[in-house]
Symmetry: C2
Subunit: 322 residues, 2 copies
């Protein structure tokens, strides 16, 4: 069995080999800068793992894997503009380091570059890859729009929230895996199951992100703990709290949303959440999606041995310290 | 022989049939709004004409034609943000009517929709279509970046300027035609020649745009005559003027660039250009590219009768009143 590191190394080398012209430098310098900032490269690793799981040399799906990674980075560059985020992966975002117009246009060309990588796969499967890639790309945009819309809405339901994170984050994990499966030319059913696996790992992962934002060990967490609470982000935790709080707790929470002392606000909201049991409830929802993911993986018609790297990666993602 | 109107009608119907989901409305309403603002639909008409010219029913290339039109509209939505343009086709631009974030994201999803249309062509030619489409999309982004870079440069050469308009505008005309030729499955040489035809028609068209901006009949011109002069845009006219002016004229031009009375500025710059003969010189360069285009068309290995709609469209584009 190959390790996560094995696949990561192939991806890192692949990303390093993605070439951009020198000119116009204002278009391509931001991409050279942004792509080496790193990130977990989780999505392209999934593509390679899927190809391997279905018995085909994973190097064969490297272009598809890179297309997913380039797409992900395109979406981050544009999301950072929309979210007015100054920092990404500890460094200045593209629109901060250059300017907004350059970030729009660099993002655009990176999206096209993602399609150029995709087009390097065998022509006879390009149409099928394009189909799932396009569908996913549209959904990611829809998820981002929903996320922005939620900022101005006070009636967001938990169902809507899960749908938003499914579109914004999870479908791309499903797509990454399915593209690996398409390259391996496995059955339609296997393709659907591995997509399902990825999608629910993605939802679980995103819920865990919400939990970690408030409950992570500040020593180990890369950013400010409680950031979502400070800016009143409608996470699963906050939505669940409003759903389950009694009238007294609801009033307290409403007052806390206007609290200006960030440190006090984070501590008080956490206390309130703890009194309702929000952390355990959200972990339960996360576990549900993790279980659905594992069930889908169990149904895939390949030897269990072949599924191990995928299970290992999912476990690694789920076992980040909460 | 089919008329331009015949192809336009097929395109209009096709554009009308492009469906967007109702939700998220902030993502798709802007696209419904923008796509019906019209425009000449010149690019998709070229795709259909090319397919027809090579003896295949033009309805077969409608998805490719629509993909070019959607791409063009994506680029307009994003360019309007970058140029801070309030008005497009007589109506409010997307970032003005909604907001900038919505314009970024609607543009993004429209680019993906362009690829979705492309993917509707026969899978066996999708890879080839994708190749020229991707290459062109990258070039259009490069052209837009060059255009933005030129604003902050005082040493733009005419060669660079022609390269900028080639990338920003002309390659998409070549691409539109070549995609029509790919659908018709004609020879490699014919594909290259029809691309060349489109590219040089595009350069000539853009030069004519520069000339019209200052020399159009105000009664017939849809926007303010002299707009480029007022904002000191580095058009072919201005670059040629600086190249050919004597020292006295150069000083006069430099002073005029800082003139604040718009009406006086436009009239004075036009007088200066007239004394150098700028209009005729630029018309000459335009004619050169129009001739190269017609030579490429002449070399295409199909009966002359089949070339007539393409020649007619090119003539129509070139004969706008100067």
């Amino acid at each position: 069995m190959q390790s996560i590191q094995y696949y990561s190394q192939i991806v890192e080398k692949g990303v390093g080999n993605v070439q951009f012209p020198l000119s116009p430098s204002n278009l391509y310098d931001p991409l050279r800068y942004f792509l080496v900032l790193g990130g977990k490269r989780m999505r392209p690793v999934l593509t390679l793992m899927a190809t391997d799981a279905f018995g085909v040399d994973c190097n064969k799906s490297l272009p598809a894997a890179l297309s997913v990674e380039l797409f992900h980075n395109f979406s981050l560059i544009h999301d950072d503009i929309m979210d007015e985020a100054p920092i990404r992966r500890g460094q200045a975002t593209v629109h901060t380091k250059w300017n907004q117009n350059i970030a729009i246009l660099s993002g655009d060309v990176l999206l096209v570059k993602a399609y150029q990588e995709l087009a390097k796969q065998d022509p006879k499967i390009v149409a099928e890859l394009l189909h799932i890639f396009n569908k996913t790309a549209v959904e990611v945009c829809e998820g981002q729009q929903m996320d922005m819309d939620f900022e101005n809405r006070e009636d967001v339901t938990i169902t809507e929230y899960i749908e938003m994170i499914r579109l914004k984050t999870s479908v791309l994990l499903g797509c990454a895996l399915e593209m690996g499966a398409i390259v391996a030319e496995t059955s339609k059913e296997n393709k659907e199951l591995i997509y399902e696996f990825g999608q629910h790992v993605g939802i679980a992962f995103q819920i865990q992100d919400d939990i970690l934002d408030l409950y992570a060990d500040p020593e180990k967490f890369g950013k400010q703990v409680g950031g979502d609470v400070i800016c009143n982000k409608k996470t699963l935790l906050l939505l669940k709290a409003f759903e389950l709080a009694n009238d007294f707790q609801k009033d307290e929470l409403a007052v806390l949303l206007n609290e200006e002392d960030a440190e006090f606000k984070v501590a008080a909201v956490r206390n309130l959440f703890d009194s309702i049991g929000i952390k355990e409830i959200c972990k339960g929802i996360m576990q549900e999606h993790y279980s659905i993911a594992k069930e889908a993986l169990a149904k895939i018609n390949i030897p269990d041995e072949k599924k191990k790297p995928l299970l290992e990666l999912a476990a690694y993602l789920m076992e980040r310290e909460i």
